[in-house]
Amino acid sequence: MLELHGLRQTFNPGTVNEVRALQGVDLTLEAGSFVVVLGTNGSGKSTLLNAVAGSFFLDEGRIRLDGHDVTRWPEHRRAQLIGRVFQNPFSGTAPGMSIAENFALAARRGKPRGLSWALAPNLLGALRERVAALRMGLEDRLDNAIGSLSGGQRQALTLLMATWLRPRLLLLDEHTAALDPKSADQVISLSDQVIRRDGLTTLMVTHSMAQAVAYGDRILMMHRGRVVHDFRGAEKRRLRPEDLIDRFDEIRRREQLDEGAATMLSDLYV
């Protein structure tokens, strides 16, 4: 479904702020797989997601999605294949517009927009039904501005919007990180439910070990712009949060060792 070949991206090249965010990422996602991306801060996990979404064009590498080479597609064109939920609950919805109007926009994701009435009656009917299924009591408040809702409610609605038209790929970018624990639980289990029900190919970034272990069928661990571990199948199912923490410690130790070795070598020979 999604194929990434040799993705490389450096931000602010040649300056003191140079960040080598992606340093050669190769990855293939099978249709219907739910992949969790873990990583330390600055490991490039969000950059990876943004590269797939098309927020910037890559320095190097190719992206194939659903049989299309989307490497040079602008963000809004890729949106016909991709549904997204952002980390910031404010990013995924238009705060000044009503819940219904936000969904009217989502219902035309990647489709041409014409002069037909946005709040079509059949859309409203389906919307009321699906929003009622959230059990947040929002089905009677469809005319309220979305800006008046809590972060958790907005993320739940953003998820519903992103998956309203079945996306070929769902991108979840730490979409529970900004929520209180209770809302985070609600949103993550809702996500899991929708992903399983529709069999969505999903790439989810998180820094919660617990979420990584509990959800999805494959874990990618990223560090310094590379995929350093890829757990899947039985190995993924056996993983516990402690195992993941061990792996991270291991990476950190090896890195310190590398730096120590480099200093020693330079002391001796340079």
Partner: protein, 310 residues
């Protein structure tokens, strides 16, 4: 009464300007100075066509289209060339000054002999009510003036309703969302740049239509007539928001119309009381400044008050 009638008519004609400014300033959060140039462009194009014998409706539409093109140009400069929206507007406004002079061929085109919406309105008034003064609530009113007022009202209502319907369609909803949250609009597959260009075209189209009608009402187009128009539009939008108090689309559009009318009434009264017309723009600018600053200032005062008491 004639003063009142004139202020109402002018307010309704300039309500198209106010709705245009509402689109750029409130929906897209862009204070678009192209307005100052496009209102003159609309007047100039319409005036030249009217002198040439074109029908008022066609001339007004042509003026509006010219303004829309100018707005689209500002939008293209802003989005495709990544130039600050304010600067893009300044560039187009400045360029339009020369363009307007070229369109008119001189700095002023009088419309004394031409058939305009105002002369047609007057003729309509005379055929409906005769030439003698009518008595409205005990005041003598010229039937021609009344008919022109009715036409201006018709224009404001038709444009307002069309705009409202447009902003509730798929395209219009996406346009409003573009101003609200561009990142979300991109993620939902709409081209933010395209909608911004379209929005500025729409805004300046309305502004230019207002200019075309204004030229016909006052009987001339002038190269200087656009100066400070953006601030008048802002003043109307702000007064409208104070009147309707709501950010909902329908009320906001109605507010822009009401704000424009009320603003012209206030201006007429102030001038009648002996305000020096030269000071009008200074006072309008001060008014808009205080309307923008006052809410923040009051909020800070409210925030401070409880701590001062404790």
């Amino acid at each position: 009464m004639n003063l009142l009638l004139g202020a109402l008519t002018l307010g309704l004609i300039l309500s198209l300007l106010a709705m245009g400014v509402y689109v750029s300033f409130r929906i897209f959060s862009i204070p678009d100075i192209t307005t100052d140039g496009s209102i003159t462009l609309g007047a100039a194009v319409a005036a030249v066509l009217l002198v040439g014998g074109t029908s008022p409706i066609l001339a007004t539409a042509a003026g509006a289209l010219a303004g829309a093109a100018a707005g689209a140009l500002a939008g293209i400069i802003h989005t495709r060339f990544r130039i600050n929206a304010l600067l893009a507007g300044i560039l187009v406004m400045t360029a339009l000054y020369s363009v307007n002079l070229h369109v008119m061929g001189r700095s002023n085109v009088p419309l004394l002999q031409a058939t305009t919406f105002a002369t047609q309105g007057e003729r309509l008034g005379h055929t409906l009510f005769g030439t003698g003064p009518l008595h409205l609530l005990g005041w003598p009113v010229a039937p021609g003036d009344l008919a022109v007022l009715a036409l201006a009202l018709l224009a404001a209502v038709v444009v307002g309703v069309t705009l409202y319907v447009f902003f509730r369609t798929d395209v219009g909803t996406a346009m409003r969302a573009t101003g609200d949250n561009p990142q979300m609009v991109r993620a939902l597959g709409a081209d933010v740049d395209r909608y911004t260009i379209l929005g500025l075209a729409l805004s300046n189209g309305l502004v230019a239509m207002s200019g075309a009608l204004l030229a016909q009402y006052q009987g001339f187009a002038d190269a200087q007539m656009g100066i400070g128009m953006i601030v008048w539009g802002l003043a109307s939008v702000i007064i409208g928001e104070a009147l309707t108090g709501s950010r909902s689309l329908g009320l906001a559009l109605a507010g822009a119309v009401l704000g424009s009318v009320l603003f012209r009434l206030l201006v007429a009264v102030a001038l009648r009381w002996g305000l020096n017309p030269n000071d009008l723009k200074l006072i309008t600018a001060l008014f808009v400044f205080s309307a923008l600053v006052l809410p923040r200032f009051l909020a800070r005062r409210r925030g401070v008050a409880p701590t001062a008491r404790s």
